[in-house]
């Protein structure tokens, strides 16, 4: 696997036509409320003349006004123009159109004039090669005519700068480095003044930092910081948990600033952890990992305003783990193409990284069939597997193992146990009751997710059935079906 910086260097040259992933669109949202506002518009029925080509995506968004808003995005140079009066950039229409495109709901076509203009502006900007690149560059938009429904005096919507792909990348790397340095300074202040500082109990303390990290395009770290806000004071041992996480953040902030000197797979892992996106096309250009993949477990977790589904797959031949991710904002659906307890013969393409857990599914060589021959390892072996994974990527927050163990009570806490030892389950986690009922207290193969706070039961593999025990997304958040 190539180094992430090298990967990005060639990305825009060889994969310009690659469709974005939904998470890339989420990352582009200037604030969570923009994404919320975009959701109702991210349906084909709200768009007229939507189309895309290898450079741009465009469409006219119908709404309450007589004339639709014309929206076009140069997805290579990340330049946006919309005729709406919003000064938020990118506006909800642009986010909605990108979401539609990311979901494959925009057909290819020939770019209309307003879309071609966006591309031309971006290309012209690239050609200027100015010495100093401003954060946001305003480009002239067509002067609204009296009958086009736009507000008079509307300020021309700006576009994102991208003089050339390398300049954009260098810019981003510089912003990320500055963000990581700021994070480290903030961490330093926290341990200097102490975790007992009342400021830590305020959500704004964490949210402000998270917002600055998003500005610095290290969204992966922003998510970790936001999660910590809910931990402060939540239980008697909160300070231990917060301190551990501050340690992990320090590790990532340090590693992120030294990516160039890290071994390539580790550098890729660091890049992914801090929020660097790799395009699907780059992943799909890799060497496939072909196997009969058993769907071992499912886990849905709400992260900020996005529901995240992790599907854990295990190669029946290789024994290697893989993780499929899917995302759903409010009113969207999560991926249901693979069911727990089935297996499918397929090509998986791994994202770069030391563990290389995250995958995209390529060609499927057959229909799904019930997974058979699922065996669990001992508790001791599970600890060794988790230890090896943490040693490879010390900041990981979850890792799957399949153990042959029984649920049992150790004092006030539920554990998984076998003859050689036990592992605690996360307190209050869903699925423990069903696990106990299914196993009747006997050892059964159980897929669990290791987390720093204990094990989360995902699946009980019984002789005659497979029980999905994993945390489930809030159905009121997702669209039906």
């Amino acid at each position: 696997m190539s180094h992430p910086l090298a990967t990005v260097a060639v990305m825009s040259e060889v994969a310009a036509a690659a469709r974005w992933q939904a998470e890339q669109v989420f990352a582009l949202a200037p604030k969570p409320s923009s994404l919320t506002a975009a959701q109702p518009l991210a349906v084909p029925s709200r768009w007229v003349g939507a189309g895309c080509d290898e450079r741009a995506v465009w469409g006219r968004c119908t709404g309450g006004r007589a004339e639709p808003y014309e929206c076009a995005i140069d997805h290579v140079a990340v330049a946006v123009r919309c005729s709406c009066p919003s000064r938020v950039l990118p506006c909800k229409h642009a986010l909605a159109l990108l979401l539609l495109w990311a979901r494959g709901q925009v057909a290819e076509g020939e770019a209309p004039a307003f879309a071609a203009a966006v591309v031309a502006s971006a290309v012209a900007n690239s050609a200027k090669q100015a010495a100093e690149v401003p954060e946001v560059v305003a480009v002239p938009a067509p002067v609204p005519s009296a009958d086009d429904g736009d507000d008079v005096g509307l300020i021309a919507p700006p576009i994102f700068p991208d003089r050339d792909p390398n300049a954009g990348r260098d810019n981003r790397v510089a912003r990320m480095a500055a963000g990581l340095a700021e994070l480290d300074r903030w961490l330093d202040d926290r341990v200097r003044t102490g975790l007992a500082d009342p400021a830590l109990a305020r959500y704004s303390t964490w949210d402000d930092l998270a917002a600055r990290l998003i500005d610095a395009q290290v969204g992966g770290l922003a998510n970790r910081v936001r999660r910590l806000a809910g931990v402060v004071g939540a239980h008697p041992d909160w300070h231990q948990q917060v301190l551990s996480e501050l340690g992990a953040l320090h590790l990532l902030a340090t590693a992120g600033r030294q990516m160039g000197s890290l071994p390539p797979p580790l550098a890729d892992s660091v890049a992914a952890a801090i929020g660097w996106q790799v395009r699907q096309a780059d992943v799909l250009a890799g060497v496939p990992d072909t196997d009969h993949w058993a769907v071992m477990g499912r886990s849905d977790v709400r992260e900020d305003r996005i529901e995240v589904r992790r599907l854990w797959l295990r190669g029946q031949t290789s024994g290697r783990w893989a993780m499929m991710l899917s995302f759903a904002a409010y009113g969207q659906t999560l991926d249901t193409s693979m069911m727990v307890g089935t297996q499918v013969h397929a090509d998986l393409f791994r994202y770069p990284g030391a563990l290389g857990l995250r995958v995209l599914v390529g060609r499927r060589h057959g229909d799904p069939a019930p997974a058979t021959g699922i065996v669990g390892c001992s508790i001791a072996e599970a600890c060794a597997q988790v230890g090896a994974a943490v040693a490879a990527e010390p900041w990981i927050e979850r890792y799957p193992v399949c153990v042959l163990a029984a649920p049992a009570r150790a004092g006030a806490r539920w554990v998984l146990t076998d003859d050689g030892g036990s592992l605690p389950l996360v307190e209050g986690v869903t699925g423990v009751g069903a696990l106990l009922a299914c196993s009747e207290g006997r050892p059964v193969p159980i897929t669990v997710e290791w987390t720093p706070h204990g094990m989360v039961p995902l699946t009980a593999h019984l002789p005659d059935r497979v029980i999905d025990l994993g945390p489930t997304a809030d159905p009121s958040f997702l669209a039906a079906g």
Partner: protein
């Protein structure tokens, strides 16, 4: 390592402005501090916290083995099929008024609840003595065993269950004009409902009584009724209601058939 970690937690709580970080124990963490010396106490603490966190996570060790729990008494009844678990979830989500009949059908067909359903079914009805008692019959010995280990599944109702009501479905209000349809021949019921929906004589305002009627009518009438409602004129103003009623009839028929023993 634990002592060292606890000392670091104390220092982190107080802040390095007030207390210096502890000296790392000999070994990897001390080597880390020596290899990459940091100028300030706060930076030294952060470095050691990061190192210690990784060591503690990567060095995950099993706890002592724990005695397993004794299994529940064997229940010879066959469990509800796996597909019925999905059906129960649909019933609860879309047509909860069918749940009483679903549980009763489990008992009448000499089945027991599939194990994964025991906790959610008991938890749902813990405030209703009659429903909880009916669920306990369906759960069998596993239900009692689960309550032993998870007391929150026990019934919290103050009054005891009424034994005579356990084998009966709760009554649903049905207007007198529709009562004859409860036991009328399937074809007649189907004709009456389909005609009423097509002509919009039956509309949204009648939904509650029609739902009650379909939930309590003779189950043998359900396929004919569902078929007839499926054929209601799509241009009828009552088509939305027709869809809903057809769904109810199909689901009720499906759940009862699914629970029958082969």
């Amino acid at each position: 390592m634990n002592d060292y970690w606890n000392e670091m937690v104390t220092v982190a709580l107080l802040g390095t402005d007030r207390r210096d970080p502890p000296t790392p124990p000999a070994g990897g963490l001390a080597d880390l501090a020596a290899d990459d010396p940091r100028p300030t106490p706060s930076q030294r603490l952060l470095q050691q916290v990061a190192g210690c966190t990784v060591v503690r996570r990567a060095g995950l060790l099993p706890g002592a083995p724990v005695a397993t729990v004794a299994p529940p008494t064997h229940d010879p009844r066959p469990p509800t099929p796996q597909a019925a678990t999905k059906t129960w979830r649909r019933v609860v989500a879309d047509w909860p008024l069918l749940e009483d009949e679903w549980v009763l059908a489990v008992v009448r067909n000499s089945r027991r609840l599939a194990p994964e359903l025991v906790p959610p079914v008991l938890a749902r009805h813990r405030t209703d003595a009659n429903r909880h008692a009916r669920a306990m019959v369906a759960a069998g010995p596993l239900g009692h065993w689960m309550i032993e280990w998870s007391p929150r599944l026990a019934c919290t109702a103050k009054h005891p269950p009424v034994v005579e009501l356990l084998a009966e479905l709760p009554e649903l209000p049905i207007v007198p004009e529709l009562v004859p349809l409860l036991s009328a021949p399937p074809a007649q019921v189907a004709r009456t409902l389909a005609a009423g929906l097509s002509s919009a004589e039956l509309g949204r305002a009648h939904k509650a009584v029609l739902v009650n009627l379909l939930a309590r009518m003779d189950p043998s009438s359900l396929p004919a009724v569902a078929q007839a409602i499926d054929r209601v004129d799509p241009s009828s103003p009552s088509i939305g209601l027709a869809f809903a009623l057809a769904d109810l009839a199909h689901l009720r028929h499906h759940m009862l058939t699914e629970l029958e023993l082969a």
